[in-house]
C-alpha cells in the first residue's frame, strides 16, 4: 500500500507544483500588493487598508462591478441560448462524421488571434459596415453597433461561442438515447423531452459550459475595450486605467482580487449546482 501511495504522490506532485507556480504564487502576490502603497510613482511594501477603502468606497468601482456582471451575465445567457440549438443538432441530429468535422471547425477559431477576430467585427458592425449596408437596402438604419454594450456582447460571443457549443455538444452527446426514447414512449412530445429529460440529464455539462462562458467574459479586456468603446469601463478596463493613471498598481490589485473572489464564488457555486444530486 505504501509504495502505491508514493506512486500516487509522484503523480500529484507536478499538479501541485504547476498550481503553485502559475496560480497560487501570483495570486498571493496580488493579494499582498493590494496592501502596498505608492509614493512618488513607486510602489513600496507595506500593510495599509487605504487601497481597499479607496476603491470599495467609490461609486465608479461599484458601477463598473455591476456593469461587468451584467454584461458577462447577458453574454452568458445569450451565448448559452444561441449555442443550444447548434449543440442539440450536433449531438442528436447528425452523423458521427459530421459531428467530428463540426467540432474540428469549432476549434479552428482558436488558431487565430482573438484580437484579429475582434477587429474583423469592425468591418461588419461599423456605421458604414456590412450590416448597415444591408439594412439600408431595406430603408433601415444606420444603427450604431460599435462602442455599445451590444458590441461588447458580440465580442464576448466571438470568444466564447465556439467553446460553449463544443462543451454543450459533449454534454448532450452523453445523454442516454434510451431515456429520450423512454420519454417519447410514455407520451412526451419531442420538444418537451428537451426540458423534461435532456436538460436534467445534461445539467452538469451545461452548467460547466455556462461557468466557463461567464468566467471568460467577466475577465475579458478586448471586447469591452475595442467593441464596447471602453466607457463606462468594465473591471478589466478599470485595472488598466488604474495602473495607467499614476502607477496605482495596489489599487489595480484590489480590483483584481475582487474579480478573482467573484469568479471563485461563481465557479464554486456553479460546480456545486452542477454536481448536486437532484434538482430540488
Amino acid at each position: 500500500m505504501r509504495t502505491f501511495s508514493i506512486f500516487k504522490q509522484t503523480f500529484r506532485l507536478p499538479i501541485v507544483l504547476w498550481q503553485s507556480l502559475f496560480f497560487i504564487g501570483p495570486l498571493c502576490f496580488t493579494v499582498a500588493m493590494s496592501f502596498f502603497i505608492v509614493r512618488n510613482y513607486r510602489m513600496q511594501e507595506d500593510f495599509v487598508m487605504k487601497n481597499w477603502a479607496k476603491m470599495l468606497g467609490r461609486d465608479y468601482f461599484w458601477d463598473s462591478y455591476f456593469l461587468t456582471w451584467g454584461l458577462a451575465g447577458i453574454g452568458t445567457i445569450v451565448t448559452m441560448t444561441v449555442a443550444f440549438p447548434a449543440a442539440y443538432t450536433l449531438a442528436f441530429k447528425v452523423s458521427e462524421t459530421v459531428r467530428r468535422w463540426a467540432i474540428f471547425m469549432l476549434i479552428i477559431p482558436f488558431f487565430t488571434s482573438y484580437l484579429v477576430r475582434i477587429f474583423s467585427w469592425y468591418v461588419i458592425l461599423a456605421e458604414s459596415g456590412v450590416i448597415n449596408a444591408g439594412l439600408s437596402y431595406l430603408g433601415l438604419g444606420p444603427f450604431v453597433m460599435l462602442n455599445t454594450k451590444f458590441g461588447t456582447v458580440v465580442g464576448y460571443m466571438t470568444l466564447t461561442l465556439p467553446l460553449v457549443i463544443i462543451l454543450q455538444t459533449f454534454a448532450l452527446s452523453n445523454v442516454d438515447r434510451s431515456l429520450v426514447e423512454a420519454a417519447f414512449n410514455l407520451g412526451c412530445r419531442p420538444f418537451r423531452t428537451i426540458y423534461r429529460v435532456i436538460l436534467p440529464m445534461a445539467r452538469t455539462g451545461l452548467i460547466i459550459a455556462a461557468v466557463f462562458c461567464f468566467i471568460l467574459s467577466f475577465g475579458d479586456f478586448v471586447s469591452p475595450y475595442y467593441l464596447g468603446g471602453s466607457k463606462p469601463p468594465t473591471l478589466p478596463i478599470l485595472i488598466v486605467d488604474t495602473v495607467k493613471s499614476g502607477q496605482q498598481w495596489p489599487r489595480a490589485a484590489v480590483v483584481a482580487v475582487v474579480m478573482m473572489v467573484t469568479l471563485f464564488v461563481v465557479a464554486f457555486a456553479g460546480i456545486m449546482a452542477a454536481y448536486r444530486r437532484r434538482v430540488g
Binding site: 442516454d176 434510451s178 423512454a182 414512449n185 410514455l186 407520451g187 412530445r189 419531442p190
Partner: protein, 362 residues
C-alpha cells in the same frame, strides 16, 4: 369480425443494407400473452420498437385496432415499453418516475401522486417511493419500471427481456407477478425473451424468430411437440433430429434412410418431398424409449450409453449411435430403475410411429 389488437402485415425493417426484420406477418388478440423468442440479433427488439413507434418499418404496415400506425409518432401511441436496460430517469425519484407518463397525459398533480403511490404499493415497493433510482436494488428498479408503464393503464404492454438482469430466484418471483398482473388486468403482453422456460411458462402463444423471419408461431405445446422446421427443433432442444435421404414417398408418409437406419414418418402439413431429398424428422427426448432388449417396433436405433444427467426427478440419458451421432432420452428416475442399463453393452432407443415428427427438407 373484430379486428385483432395488433397486426403486422409484411413488415420489413432495413438498416442501410442490412435486413433486420424480413416479411413478418402475425396478429395479436386483445388480452393475449405473446412471447417473442429467438437467438440474439434475430430482430426481436426491432420488432418491438416498431410496434412502439420508435422505429419505422421500411416496408409493410403495422395496424392497431385495424388502423395503420406507420405514421403515428411514438408519443401518440399507447404502447409503453419495459426496457431491457430499464431506462428509468435517474434524476427523478421512484414516485416521480411513475408519475411521468401521467403528467404527459395532463393528469393533475394530486391525482398523479395518488395513482403513482397506488401502483408502487401494488408492486410492494411503496416504502421506496421517495428514493433515488440509483439507490434501489435490481428487483426494485424492475418494479418501478413496470409501475411506470402500467400506471397509464395501457391496453398493451411491451416487455423487452425484462427479467434478464435479475437473479434466478427473483426471476421466478417476477414471473408470477407478471402473469398475475396480466390475468387480473386483462392487458395484452408482448414479451421478448431469450429464455425458453420463461416463454413456455407464461405465454399463450410463442413467436419464434430467426434472422429476421418468423420460424413458427404457436402455443408453447405446439412449439415443443410439433416444431415446424429444423431451426425450431434445434432451438427448442431436447429433440433428437434424424436426417436421411428420402427413399420412398406415399400418401402422407415418407421413408427416410440415413446412417441411423431407415424410418417411415408421417408428413403432416408439410409438402411431400421428392425422392433423394435430404429430409429430417425429430423424436422428442421425453417420447423416446430405452430398453436393453431389442424392441419389436420398426423405429429402433441401437446405441451405447455415454452419460446421464439428473435434474430433479428427471433423468436425461446421452447415447451414442453406431455412426457416432448423439441421441437423448428423457425419463422419470423411477422408470430408469426398471431398465438394467449398467450390465448391457448395447441399448435400444425406440419410439412409437406417431412420435416421429417430420420437419421437412432444407
Amino acid at each position: 369480425m373484430v379486428a385483432p389488437l395488433v397486426e403486422f402485415r409484411s413488415v420489413v425493417k432495413r438498416f442501410d443494407d442490412f435486413v433486420a426484420v424480413e416479411d413478418v406477418n402475425f396478429t395479436i388478440d386483445a388480452g393475449e400473452f405473446v412471447a417473442i423468442m429467438g437467438p440474439s440479433g434475430c430482430g426481436k427488439t426491432t420488432t418491438l420498437r416498431m410496434l412502439a413507434g420508435l422505429e419505422a418499418p421500411s416496408e409493410g404496415n403495422i395496424l392497431m385496432d385495424g388502423r395503420v400506425m406507420n405514421d403515428v409518432p411514438a408519443h401518440e401511441r399507447d404502447t409503453p415499453l419495459v426496457w431491457q436496460s430499464l431506462a428509468l430517469f435517474p434524476f427523478l425519484t421512484a414516485r416521480e418516475n411513475v408519475e411521468f407518463g401521467l403528467q404527459m397525459r395532463g393528469v393533475g398533480a394530486a391525482e398523479c401522486r395518488r395513482r403513482a403511490l397506488e401502483w408502487l404499493d401494488r408492486m410492494e415497493i411503496s416504502e421506496f417511493a421517495e428514493r433515488d433510482i440509483a439507490s434501489l436494488s435490481g428487483g426494485q428498479k424492475q418494479r418501478v419500471a413496470l409501475a411506470r408503464s402500467l400506471v397509464i393503464e395501457p391496453r398493451i404492454l411491451l416487455l423487452d427481456e425484462p427479467l434478464s438482469a435479475l437473479d434466478a430466484n427473483l426471476v421466478i418471483r417476477m414471473q408470477s407477478v407478471l402473469t398475475r398482473l396480466q390475468r387480473e388486468l386483462g392487458i395484452t403482453f408482448v414479451y421478448v425473451t431469450h429464455s425458453q422456460s420463461e416463454a413456455f411458462a407464461m405465454a399463450d402463444r410463442v413467436v419464434i424468430m430467426s434472422r429476421g423471419h418468423i420460424s413458427q408461431i404457436g402455443s408453447p405445446k405446439d412449439i415443443y411437440r410439433a416444431p415446424a422446421n429444423r431451426f425450431v427443433a434445434e432451438f427448442v432442444g431436447r429433440n433428437n433430429i434424424i436426417a436421411g435421404a428420402v427413399t420412398k414417398t406415399a400418401a402422407k408418409t415418407v421413408t427416410i434412410e440415413g446412417s441411423l437406419g431407415s424410418f417411415t414418418v408421417q408428413t403432416g402439413q408439410h409438402d411431400a418431398p421428392r425422392k433423394g431429398d435430404v429430409a429430417r424428422f425429430v423424436v422428442a427426448a421425453d417420447l423416446a424409449q430405452i430398453s436393453v432388449k431389442k424392441p419389436k417396433s420398426a423405429n429402433v436405433i441401437p446405441c451405447s450409453l455415454i452419460s446421464e444427467e439428473f435434474i430433479g426427478s428427471i433423468v436425461t440419458l446421452f447415447l451414442e449411435a453406431e455412426d457416432g451421432s448423439e441421441l437423448k432420452v428423457q425419463l422419470q428416475e423411477r422408470e430408469l430403475s426398471k431398465v438394467d442399463l449398467k450390465s448391457a453393452t448395447t441399448t435400444y432407443l425406440s419410439w412409437a410411429d406417431e412420435h416421429g415428427h417430420y420437419i421437412g427438407v432444407d
